[in-house]
C-alpha cells in the first residue's frame, strides 16, 4: 500500500471495525399509541392529522382526519374532546387545542369545497341505514367509501338527528351541519326524508337490502311524576329544542325553571335566556361536582346569567310558581329529602331528565335482545339478528355525538366484513405513549391559545355562535404544540446524538433506520428522543 509522504492511514478506515458486536441492547423504532388517539371515541388518528397540520398541509390533515370521522366541522364544535383531557401536554402547560384545530380543518374544507374520494369499485351490496343522525351518517359514509350502496331512511323532515334537534344553534350553526351532510350525500348515499321505518325486516325485504344499520337515537323524553295544577305549564326539553327548529318558537314565559342536570338542561336554560326569559333557573337534585353536564358548558351558562339551584327537587308545580324541596347528600352521595320547602316563581317548567329509545321498529325481529330500553349489540355492533347492526344512542353507551360517530365507523367495518362473509379483526393496538416515555425538555414552551368568545350581552339575546374559531396562524401554532407522543416526527435527534454515527437518515417523510453494524447500544437515541418513538430491547446472544 503506497501512500504519499507522511500519510499512513486511509480516511475512515475504521469502518472495518464493526462495533455493533459490542451491543447487548438494541434500539428499535416503534410507533406508540398517543393518549389522544386512545381516548377518541371516533378512533381518530389525531397525532397523525396534527402532523400534517403542523407543516401547514391542511388538506392532507383533513383527509387523514376524515378517514375516521366525516364531520370535523361539526365535531370541532360539539365534541366534548376527551382527547384534550388525556393530552400529555397537560403535564407541561395545557392540553393541545385539538378540538379547535379540528374545527379549523372542518371549516377550511367547507370554505375550499374539498370533497371525499369516491370509492374505487362498487361491491354490489345494499345496506339500509335507519336514522340520519351522527351514527347513521357516519355508517353511511364509511359504507359508501367501502363501495356499498347505502340508503338512509330518516323519519324526520331533515337530516342531522340530535345534532339538529338536540344541540342549539349557538353551539352548532345549521349551515355547518348542512355542508357536512351534503358532502356525505355527494358520495352517492341516498337519503329519504319523512320516511319512518316501522318494521325493519319488512323494509329490508322490500328494498332488497343485504344488511341494516339501525341508528334511530333516543328521543322520547323521560317523565317524572310531578303533581301539577291545571294551569301549570310543564314541557319536555327535547320538544322545546325541537320547536326551536320550526317557525313558531316555544312560549316559555318570563321565568323558566329547567329540571335536570345534564347538558340538555343547560342547553334549554341557555335557549330560554336567548328567547327573552328574565330568569332561567336550573333545578338539580345533586351538587355541581355530581352534575353530568360538562363543566365548560355550566361555566358558559353561568356567565350568561343562568341560575342553578343545587340540591333541590321539584315537589309541585302550580300555574305561576313551583315548590322545591331542599336535599342533602348521604354518605353514599345520594340525595335525600330534608322536608324543607321553598316556593319559586315559574311561568313554565321544562323537564330535562334524559331520553328513551323508540324500539317499535324492532318488534317481531327474531333473535334480537332488548334490555333497559336499549338494543343489545355484540362487540361487532351486530344485534342478535344476523345482518342487523345498531349503534348510537339506541345501544348502551355514553350518549354523545362523538360516540355515535365512532359507532357508525365501527359498525361499517363489521358490516363490510359480514357482507364479504369474513370477520373484521381490528389491528392490534400499539402500547401507550405515556408521559414517562417522553423527553419533554425538547419542547418549546407554548401556552394554549384561548378561543375568542362572543360578548355576553349578545349571547343573552341572540343565537349567534358563542365560541369562535381559530384563524390560520393560531391553528398552526396550536397544531405545533403537539408533542407527537410515541410517533416519530423527524426532529433528527437520534441522527444527531449518536456518538457512533449509526443512525441512517432516510430523507423527508421516510424517517430513520439503525445501522446495527456500528450501533453499540448506548441508548442515547432512546433517552434523547423527545416523543418516545424508540425502545431498547435485549439483544439475542
Amino acid at each position: 500500500m503506497r501512500k504519499p509522504f507522511a500519510i499512513t492511514l486511509d480516511p475512515g478506515s475504521s469502518l472495518a471495525n464493526h462495533t455493533g458486536t459490542w451491543r447487548t441492547l438494541r434500539p428499535e423504532y416503534v410507533d406508540r399509541l398517543p393518549p389522544c388517539n386512545g381516548a377518541c371515541p371516533a378512533g381518530e388518528n389525531i397525532q397523525g392529522w396534527l402532523y400534517h397540520a403542523e407543516s401547514g398541509n391542511y388538506e392532507a390533515a383533513w383527509r387523514l382526519l376524515t378517514q375516521d370521522n366525516p364531520m370535523p366541522a361539526v365535531m370541532g364544535r360539539v365534541c366534548y374532546h376527551p382527547c384534550e383531557s388525556s393530552c400529555n401536554r397537560t403535564r407541561l402547560d395545557a392540553a393541545v387545542g385539538i378540538n379547535s384545530v379540528e374545527r379549523f380543518l372542518g371549516d377550511e374544507a367547507i370554505r375550499h369545497g374539498w370533497h371525499f374520494d369516491k370509492p374505487p369499485a362498487s361491491s354490489g351490496k345494499r345496506v339500509l341505514v335507519v336514522g340520519a343522525g351522527p351514527s347513521g351518517l357516519s355508517a353511511a359514509y364509511h359504507l359508501a367509501r367501502l363501495g356499498h350502496a347505502v340508503e338512509i331512511h330518516e323519519a324526520g323532515p331533515v337530516a342531522g338527528g340530535m345534532m339538529r334537534f338536540g344541540i342549539p344553534k349557538y353551539r352548532l350553526p345549521r349551515e355547518v351541519l348542512e355542508a357536512e351532510v351534503r358532502r356525505i350525500l355527494a358520495l352517492g348515499v341516498a337519503l329519504h326524508l319523512n320516511s319512518k321505518v316501522s318494521s325493519v325486516l319488512e323494509s329490508m325485504q322490500r328494498g332488497r337490502f343485504d344488511a341494516a344499520f339501525l341508528a334511530v337515537g333516543a328521543h322520547i323524553a323521560k317523565r317524572a311524576y310531578i303533581p301539577a295544577g291545571s294551569a301549570a305549564k310543564v314541557l319536555d326539553a327535547l320538544s322545546v329544542l325541537r320547536s326551536m327548529e320550526g317557525e313558531e318558537k316555544p312560549l316559555l314565559g318570563r321565568r323558566v325553571v329547567v329540571y335536570g342536570g345534564g347538558n340538555t338542561a343547560i342547553d334549554v336554560a341557555r335557549t330560554a335566556k336567548r328567547l327573552g326569559a328574565e330568569e332561567a333557573v336550573i333545578v338539580y337534585r345533586r351538587t355541581r361536582e355530581k352534575m353530568p353536564a360538562h363543566d365548560f358548558e355550566v361555566e358558559e351558562a353561568l356567565q350568561e346569567g343562568v341560575l342553578i339551584k343545587w340540591l333541590s327537587t321539584i315537589r309541585q308545580a302550580g300555574d305561576a310558581s313551583i315548590t322545591v324541596e331542599r336535599m342533602v347528600l348521604d354518605e353514599k352521595g345520594f340525595p335525600q329529602p330534608t322536608g324543607e320547602l321553598e316556593t319559586l316563581a315559574a311561568d313554565s317548567v321544562v323537564l330535562a331528565l334524559g331520553q328513551d329509545v323508540d324500539l317499535a321498529l324492532l318488534d317481531g325481529v327474531p333473535g334480537l335482545e332488548k334490555k333497559d330500553g336499549a338494543v343489545q349489540v355484540g362487540p361487532d355492533m351486530m344485534t342478535g339478528h344476523p345482518g342487523i347492526f345498531a349503534g348510537g344512542d339506541m345501544v348502551p353507551a355514553e350518549r354523545t355525538v362523538t360516540v355515535a360517530i365512532g359507532h357508525g365507523k365501527k359498525a361499517a367495518r363489521h358490516i363490510d366484513a359480514w357482507l364479504r362473509g369474513t370477520r373484521y379483526a381490528p389491528p392490534p393496538k400499539h402500547e401507550p405513549a405515556t408521559f414517562e416515555r417522553l423527553n419533554p425538555w425538547y419542547y418549546s414552551d407554548a401556552p394554549k391559545s384561548v378561543l375568542p368568545t362572543l360578548d355576553v350581552v349578545r349571547r343573552q339575546s341572540t343565537f349567534d355562535e358563542v365560541v369562535k374559531g381559530l384563524d390560520e396562524s393560531n391553528a398552526l401554532y396550536e397544531a405545533r404544540r403537539c408533542l407527537s407522543c410515541g410517533n416519530c416526527f423527524e426532529c433528527d435527534n437520534c441522527y444527531g446524538v449518536c456518538p457512533d454515527n449509526a443512525v441512517i437518515k432516510l430523507g423527508p417523510g421516510k424517517r430513520f433506520q439503525f445501522n446495527y453494524d456500528y450501533c453499540k447500544g448506548c441508548g442515547l437515541c432512546v433517552a434523547e428522543c423527545p416523543c418516545g418513538a424508540i425502545r431498547m430491547v435485549p439483544e439475542e446472544i
Binding site: 475512515g12 403542523e54 426532529c491 433528527d492 457512533d500 441508548g523 442515547l524
Partner: protein, 335 residues
C-alpha cells in the same frame, strides 16, 4: 449572542433538526451531507461524550471552512479510540504527534500554510482536558500569547480517562478518581485547586473564547462557526460527560451535560478579546444535587450520612458561576 433560538415550532431549535424550519435554519448535524468527520467504527465507549462532541465540533468547522481544514490531535482518549493502527475514524486531514505539543504542531501547520499562500486552509488543534490543562499547557499558552491562527478545542471530561481515570487539573472538587479516592475527611478531589482554562485563555486577550456542552448542539455549532470568523488564536472548551469515568449510564451522557448547565456547575458563555459578550441562560434552574446524584464519582456525597457540607460547597461554586456570568435571566423572559 451568536445563536438566536427559534421558539414555538413544536421543538423550536432544541432538537437537532426540525422539519418545520427552513433548511438553512437547521443544524449541520441534521444535514444528510454532514462530513461525519469522526466516522463509525471508532472504539470509544458506549455513549461517549467526547466522540459526540468531536463530531459535532469538527463537522461544524468543516462546514464553516468549506472543508478546508487540518486538525492536530493531542494524545488522549480521542486519539486512542479514533486511530488505533492500522485504522482511523477520521475523514479529515489529521495528525497526531505527542501528548503535550498539539498546540505547537498546529502553530507549525498554520505557519506552513501561510508560507505556502494557502491561508484559506484553517487549522484546529484538539485534545482532552489532560493534554490541554496539564501536559500541553505550555505550548497552548505560547500559542495564545503569539496569537497564532489556530482554533484550539478542548474536550473536557475532567480526568485522564484512557489510562484509568486519574485526576487532571480539570477534575472537579469532591470527584472520585483513581488518584483522588473517596476516603478521609475530604473525600475525592480537593476543593480550591484546578485550572479554569476558559478564564486563563481570556486572560491572554485572544480574539475568541467560548464554552459549550454536548447537550446544546445549536449553541456549540454557532460557536465553532463564530470562531472561524476570526483570525488568530481561539479557544473553545466543550463539556463532554464520560460514562466510564463519571459512573453514569451510557444513555445519560447528554442529560448529565444538560444538568451541568442547568445547575450552573458549567457556565456556557462566549468572550471576545478577553471580555464576556454573552452567556447562555439557564432554562430551568436546578440544585446541584440533580447533577451530582446520578454520577458514581460523587456517590460518597450521598452516603449515610450524606455530606451536606460538601454538597453546599459545590452549590456555592455553581452560584458563583451564576452570579459571575449572569446565567439566570432576571428580566423574567427566561427559557
Amino acid at each position: 449572542m451568536s445563536f438566536q433560538p427559534v421558539k414555538f415550532y413544536q421543538t423550536g431549535t432544541f432538537t437537532v433538526g426540525n422539519r418545520l424550519l427552513a433548511p438553512e435554519e437547521r443544524s449541520v448535524q441534521a444535514n444528510l451531507r454532514r462530513t461525519n468527520s469522526l466516522n463509525s467504527g471508532h472504539r470509544a465507549c458506549q455513549g461517549c461524550g467526547e466522540a459526540l462532541g468531536a463530531r459535532y465540533a469538527i463537522d461544524a468547522a468543516m462546514e464553516a471552512t468549506q472543508r478546508q481544514l487540518i486538525a492536530a490531535n493531542a494524545t488522549g482518549c480521542l486519539e486512542v479510540f479514533s486511530t488505533p493502527y492500522p485504522e482511523t475514524s477520521w475523514q479529515i486531514p489529521w495528525i497526531h504527534s505527542l501528548f503535550g505539543n498539539a498546540a505547537a504542531v498546529a502553530t507549525g501547520i498554520a505557519a506552513a500554510m501561510r508560507v505556502k499562500g494557502r491561508e484559506h486552509v484553517r487549522v484546529i488543534a484538539q485534545g482532552g482536558d489532560g493534554g490541554t490543562t496539564d501536559i500541553g499547557f505550555g505550548c497552548l499558552s505560547g500559542m495564545f500569547e503569539r496569537n497564532d491562527d489556530v482554533l484550539y478545542i478542548c474536550y473536557d471530561n475532567g480526568a485522564y480517562m484512557n489510562t484509568g481515570v486519574q485526576r487532571s487539573s480539570a477534575t472537579p472538587p469532591a470527584a472520585r478518581t483513581a488518584t483522588t479516592m473517596a476516603v478521609g475527611a475530604e473525600p475525592g478531589n480537593v476543593f480550591g485547586q484546578g485550572k479554569d482554562l476558559p478564564a486563563i485563555a481570556m486572560a491572554h486577550r485572544i480574539p475568541y473564547v467560548a464554552t459549550a456542552t454536548v447537550a446544546e448542539l445549536r449553541d456549540l455549532e454557532a460557536k465553532v462557526r463564530r470562531a472561524m470568523e476570526f483570525r488568530g488564536a481561539r479557544y473553545i472548551h466543550i463539556f463532554v460527560p464520560c460514562p466510564l469515568g463519571w459512573g453514569h449510564a451510557s444513555d445519560q451522557t447528554i442529560r448529565i451535560a444538560r444538568l451541568a448547565k442547568e445547575t450552573g456547575i458549567f457556565p456556557v458563555f462566549e468572550a471576545e478579546n478577553g471580555e464576556v459578550v454573552s452567556a447562555s441562560k439557564i432554562r430551568r434552574r436546578l440544585p446541584v444535587e440533580e447533577y451530582l446524584r446520578p454520577q458514581k464519582r460523587f456517590a460518597h456525597l450521598f452516603g449515610k450520612p450524606p455530606r451536606a457540607d460538601l454538597i453546599a460547597r459545590m452549590q456555592e461554586l455553581a452560584d458563583r458561576n451564576i452570579r459571575r456570568y449572569g446565567l439566570v435571566d432576571t428580566s423574567g423572559a427566561q427559557r
